[in-house]
Symmetry: C2
Subunit: 112 residues, 2 copies
Amino acid sequence: MSSDDQIDLVFKALAAPIRRDLMDALKDNPQTTGELCARFDTLNRCTVMQHISVLEDAGLVIARKQGRQRWNCLNALPIKQIHDRWIGAYASGAVDLLARMESDMATVPADA
Amino acid sequence: MSSDDQIDLVFKALAAPIRRDLMDALKDNPQTTGELCARFDTLNRCTVMQHISVLEDAGLVIARKQGRQRWNCLNALPIKQIHDRWIGAYASGAVDLLARMESDMATVPADA
């Protein structure tokens, strides 16, 4: 799959509100598939699993099996890549500032 | 239009490689529609204008008329919102670090 095809998958995955809601649910903590199904109980289990699978194909969710449970984790890397592609230039200003502050700190005597 | 509908437009707009390429072209400088058409000369003018229009509807491009020219500018705000929605928590760690460094700098005597 080309890089463009992979990026297409990311945007297509995020173009549905339910999949963005699933991403929100995973933002703070990984969740088991059972927990996600209980949280989105207006949908049947099969539908929730299909949406998780679309997010997984796009690389936005990483799944790990632990015993009989399947833990789903948010992978923020594709989101970071979107950010860096179009606002990397702005962000680099902040990184420059941080680098200058670090270098200023390094010149301060340890006993100051 | 609901907020979810508006966000759908952003992701649908970005789900096509040609529209991502148009965003890349606008990243550093605004461009006139004529300049964009010249840059993407494998497509006819009408197709390029349709893609710009999809980006504009999604709020990713802002157009300004100046005389007979139409300047297209990248609007990074929807991209920032995507970032903040799913990696705001991670980023806040960096902001905390910056705040701590600033406060450390403030306690260093001016003649150190």
